[in-house]
Symmetry: C2
Subunit: 347 residues, 2 copies
Amino acid sequence: MKKGNVTFVFEEPPVILEGAGIAGPKEGEGPLGKCFDQVWEDPMLGKKTWEEAESELQKKAVEAVLKKAGVTCGEIDCFFAGDLLGQIVASSFGLAAFHRPVFGLYGACSTMGESLILSAMCVDGGFAQKVMAVTSSHFASAERQFRFPLEYGNQRPLSATWTVTGSGAFIVAKPSGAHSDKMGKRWGRCPRITMATPGRIVDMGVRDSMNMGACMAPAACDTIEAHFRDTGTGPEDYDAVITGDLGYVGQDILTELMRKKGYAIDKVHMDCGIEIFDRESQDTHSGGSGCGCSAVVLASVILPRLMDGTWRKVLFVPTGALLSPISFNEGKSVPGIAHGVVIEAAK
Amino acid sequence: MKKGNVTFVFEEPPVILEGAGIAGPKEGEGPLGKCFDQVWEDPMLGKKTWEEAESELQKKAVEAVLKKAGVTCGEIDCFFAGDLLGQIVASSFGLAAFHRPVFGLYGACSTMGESLILSAMCVDGGFAQKVMAVTSSHFASAERQFRFPLEYGNQRPLSATWTVTGSGAFIVAKPSGAHSDKMGKRWGRCPRITMATPGRIVDMGVRDSMNMGACMAPAACDTIEAHFRDTGTGPEDYDAVITGDLGYVGQDILTELMRKKGYAIDKVHMDCGIEIFDRESQDTHSGGSGCGCSAVVLASVILPRLMDGTWRKVLFVPTGALLSPISFNEGKSVPGIAHGVVIEAAK
């Protein structure tokens, strides 16, 4: 890291060896339905509680990515994992059975970015050969955690987003090593994590927990601007600048904030929360959100486009709103955070 | 990391440049009262809510360690921070004002270990010159989060621990570099983080949230045994093996579990939760606990003993109990996790 900068540059960029995205029924009916590795018709995944269902989503995602990559659980040196629930219990109960070291993370909906950065750092720093980055969210467990019990049937304002039921898991690995022979040709085609700009907490004083886009857009702007400044790049250097879950409301705010900073990102901006649901038919208002949103879109859309040559280089910026039921009820604002990760196609 | 191992070895061991421990009134009255950098008589720290008070503890700890080290906030490349509250709001609101990148962590009371490991990884991997590891807990915010409102006046069983009101902050830095001239002699005396064994989630099915020691002891055993195995060492190679907050109940269980594995750790075992309160006069039953417990004991006892020659090498193993109010109310068990860090005196 250069003096004054906040961007990490990975010397030997770790590869995302494989990813898997598991989604719930509503996500399966959306525009990306056919792209997910698994779509579960039962939002409970056969479990008794929503929280257990979310843990099961993580478990299924990890199992799926291990199978796709032909990697055993024992080869994973450690996990970087998180979710939205208090004390990240979805991760604790979802990952215990794998019996590998776990670094528990909380960055609200930005956690997918945080876990990819720390995974890449762990691998590029020479501490591990292969690690797992995994996050999840579940509509019903998140509503119970942050807003109202579903049975209450509250009305949702148009600025509200719909928490995605889903989990994405990714194996981040050294670009070369003992396993390259076994994996054969695919290894050379894997997208690489080349840089990362971890986010600062940005508190603009927004207090509306039903307008997460407005809470998070200033943080997304802060991270994207820091990244452009540190690296001497701009929107024209990326095939896409992809935020996590700003939704329609947050997208408008981000575009305007970036314009004021001198960057026109509208031509390359994409938001995972906007992509995952159909605006007209699915009644999700501002779009999708949650740790699982950017995770399943990364697995199902972003990585495939980096593999098939559609894109060469993207800036992936999962966005998080930092509140708890207690902080919100005590009248505190909702600060935002956004973690940026540059993912490039294989050379 | 060697194949099959889970222990990281740091090539150029990062130093803990400085630490600061801030504590509440009850902690100030305890056996370590005179060792803390600050003791606050007012458990609210002048704030309106307990959660705000906990955020203030983190802020004070960070300010104190920056001042002690003669380092500006701008020199800190990033923060690795966490606390016990849902969505780690004590950290989010405590650290926003520093406006540096933040990696939010959750490892329950093991978070001090997790943050030191990731800090050392970030520095030794070459991604940063100086980073901040900080955690906190507050008796009243934790009771509200996990158990009963204080006003309810519930009786505490003898197996219960008392959540420490406190925060510890530590600057982890490259052992050499541009700043060595400015810091002069002290730099060469700083303790170093030489190895780390991140923990696995261990679920023995214990369901008693008033007996955290029993929930966490098996995880502490798992990590300590893995560390001894990976490094070919034993209790005799350490001046102290220091767990976070097992308390008296958990200490007995750990000693017995380790004995069954063939290790007699009783002669070198120390527990931060046992050290921080007086058993006879302070009525805390099994001892102290919380993210802040191991943090303030590290700052106020462990680092000074590594600086003054009392100890040469310790294995510091903060321990965490992974539960949330929701998981507990849904009848789930309380899994444990423990992260091990080897801290050695300067050569």
